[in-house]
């Protein structure tokens, strides 16, 4: 009997090697499949860069560096310069960050320190919903609701208030159109708020409680604990979150297109209409006639991609370093 069992087992050996070999072949196929998918992600990125560079070539050849230093934008004479759009992009994003960073950190402090525990999750989710609302909704709301309200109740008052102060008088100069660079910046700041507060709250939660307890034990107030212990500890994460938000603000299209006013020149007043790179592309691309016009718009896209790449790459490096530290700490 034992012999028969042994024989049976022996006879199965080739079957098993066959199964193992088959599994191995399937393994290789699956591994290759996932590898190819990963390479396609790289290919998409390379394709984006290559297509933008190729599309922008005619404009690069025609205008050279003057493209980024010239304010001219004249489709009739085919003179194109991106300076006004680049200026608008940078100014709206900077102003948005000026509002969003302190408020975002404030929200994170509120959520980790002050808010009663049962309310933390709902309020946190509500703030994050701001990031879930599509940008076109911010656009239509900004155009029909926010801009008229802002024009009537805030802008006119600000213009009056600063009318006698040198410098500020020019920065906040009228006429108050409602739409313009400042309105776009405010709406951007609301849109990126959740990115900052979510990342900041997450880093705040990685701060070891021992550190906070020690500071409280020395008699620090809650604010002193936040300012002297938690914030320095979480600094790179907060900066990383802010950079992530900045990357979003720089590339935001629809919300800005609705309310910026589309003016291709640079004015000192932040209440004046302006334009951004993405707004110019969104507004003019389908109506652009002529290769040089299209190519100039593509070159603007290339510049935008380049700027956001640098911002997002540095955001990533900061957050990665933080992750590595959090990993080694536990």
């Amino acid at each position: 009997m034992a012999d028969i069992a042994l024989v049976e087992q022996m006879s199965r050996v080739p079957e098993r090697t066959l199964a193992v070999r088959k599994g191995g072949a399937r393994d290789t196929r699956f591994r290759l499949l996932t590898l190819v998918a990963a390479l396609i992600v790289l290919a998409i990125f390379a394709g984006v860069m290559a297509s933008l560079v190729i599309g922008a070539m005619p404009a690069i050849k025609q205008f050279g560096w003057s493209f980024v230093t010239s304010e001219a934008w004249n489709p009739v004479t085919e003179k194109f310069g991106a300076l006004a759009s680049i200026y608008g992009t940078l100014v709206t994003s900077m102003l948005a960050m000026l509002v969003a960073v302190p408020v975002g950190i404030g929200i994170a402090i509120f959520l980790t320190e002050i808010c009663p525990r049962p309310l933390r999750r709902p309020i946190g989710i509500a703030i994050e919903l701001l990031a879930g609302i599509p940008s076109i909704i911010y656009g239509i709301w900004g155009l029909f609701i926010f801009a008229p309200w802002f024009q009537e109740h805030v802008q006119t008052r600000m213009v009056d208030a600063f009318a006698d102060i040198p410098y500020l008088r020019d920065v906040f100069a009228g006429p108050p159109y409602g739409i313009g660079i400042f309105t776009a910046a405010l709406i951007l700041s609301i849109m990126v708020l959740p990115f900052i507060s979510a990342v900041t709250r997450d880093v705040f939660e990685t701060v070891p409680s021992v550190l906070k307890e020690a500071a409280h034990g020395l008699g620090c107030t809650t604010w002193e604990v936040m300012w002297r212990v938690v914030l320095p500890f979480a600094r790179s994460g907060v900066v990383g979150g802010a950079m992530l938000a900045l990357g979003r603000a720089l590339g935001e299209t629809m919300a800005v297109t609705f309310v910026i006013g589309n003016a291709h020149h640079i004015q000192g007043s932040i209440f004046a209409p302006g334009t951004t790179i993405s707004a110019t592309i969104a507004n003019e691309f389908t109506e652009a006639v002529g290769d040089l016009y299209l190519s100039s718009l593509v070159e603007m896209g290339l510049i935008l991609f380049f700027i956001t790449f640098i911002v997002l790459a540095s955001a990533q490096l900061m957050l990665r370093a933080l992750e590595a530290r959090a990993g080694s700490a536990t």
Partner: protein
């Protein structure tokens, strides 16, 4: 005596900044309420069954958004159908096969850039490689453009969710003699299923409101069209066109469309949040 003054000052500052942070949270919540309130108020007023049954009208006539709704659903579905497998496999490579390799590091970096890259750039990219080559605008190009947005979202969540699966599970399956591909397909994927579905839902939520990538790929279409080789209307593009127009009745339709999109997106994100597994610290 001096100490008392110091204490008083420190307490004052503490109170001051804590009040500021409460105000910051209120600031965020007020905007949320303001936006959703306005959207609801204006959107509901324009809501009717016509919205789903009639085509986008010329100015001055009655109509609905049926062709735009169809276009949005079709292009989003195509983008998700094509983008999900790609993202799933790439995310699997990052978490399972290549976890510590240099290639994976590079792919991860590039993927995170794509994740936050301006969506108008993906529109330009698709325009250059599809619209120019095909010679005309089409729903294929629109869907491809949305796919470029879907892939990085799915890659990121897939990788994150697979990394949450304990190694013990993988080791146990491997010890039973299962080849690595079976370990991944029948054990780790299954363990991470809820999270991966969350990723796909988030991707759907993200693209249903995207306008910029569709502007010069799918363009727009005033009529009912289900031909993916022709220009196609979509809700966001129609909202953009209608809101920027001077016509009152177009504005009303734009508000109704905006409410429709927001309700869809928020519902999907709330479902995604419920499905999302808790992250262990």
């Amino acid at each position: 005596m001096m100490n008392k003054a110091l204490y008083a000052r420190r307490k004052l500052w503490n109170g001051f900044f804590l009040v500021l942070s409460v105000l910051a949270a209120t600031f965020g919540l007020i905007w949320l309420g303001f936006i959703l309130g306005a959207l609801f108020y204006n959107g509901v007023a324009a809501f009717s069954s016509r919205l789903f049954l009639e085509m986008t009208p010329p100015p001055g006539e009655n109509g609905g958004l049926a062709n735009a709704i169809l276009g949005s659903v079709m292009m989003s579905a195509l983008a998700v159908l094509a983008g999900t497998p790609l993202g799933l496999f790439a995310g699997t490579y990052l978490a399972e096969y290549g976890r510590y390799t240099r290639l994976a590091f590079f792919v991860r970096f590039v993927n995170d850039i794509l994740l936050s890259a301006p969506s108008i750039i993906t529109g330009l990219f698709t325009y250059e490689i599809l619209v120019v080559k095909m010679g005309h605008f089409s729903a294929w190009a629109g869907a491809a453009s949305l796919m470029v947005i879907v892939v990085p979202v799915v890659v990121r969540t897939t990788e994150n969710m697979l990394l949450l699966v304990p190694n013990g599970l993988r080791e146990a399956a491997a010890a039973l003699g299962a080849p690595l591909s079976s370990v991944i397909q029948s054990v780790t994927w299954r363990a991470a299923r809820a999270g991966i579905v969350t990723g796909v839902l988030l991707a759907i939520a993200r693209i249903s409101g995207e306008t910029a990538p569709l502007l010069f790929t799918a363009l727009n279409n005033q009529f009912w069209s289900s031909d993916p080789n022709a220009p196609m209307a979509s809700l966001p593009v129609v909202i953009f066109q209608f809101a920027m127009s001077p016509y009152e009745d177009w504005h009303r339709l734009a508000w109704a469309g905006a409410l429709l999109i927001t309700a869809t997106v928020l519902t999907i994100s709330i479902i995604a949040r419920i499905l999302q597994p808790k992250r262990s610290h």
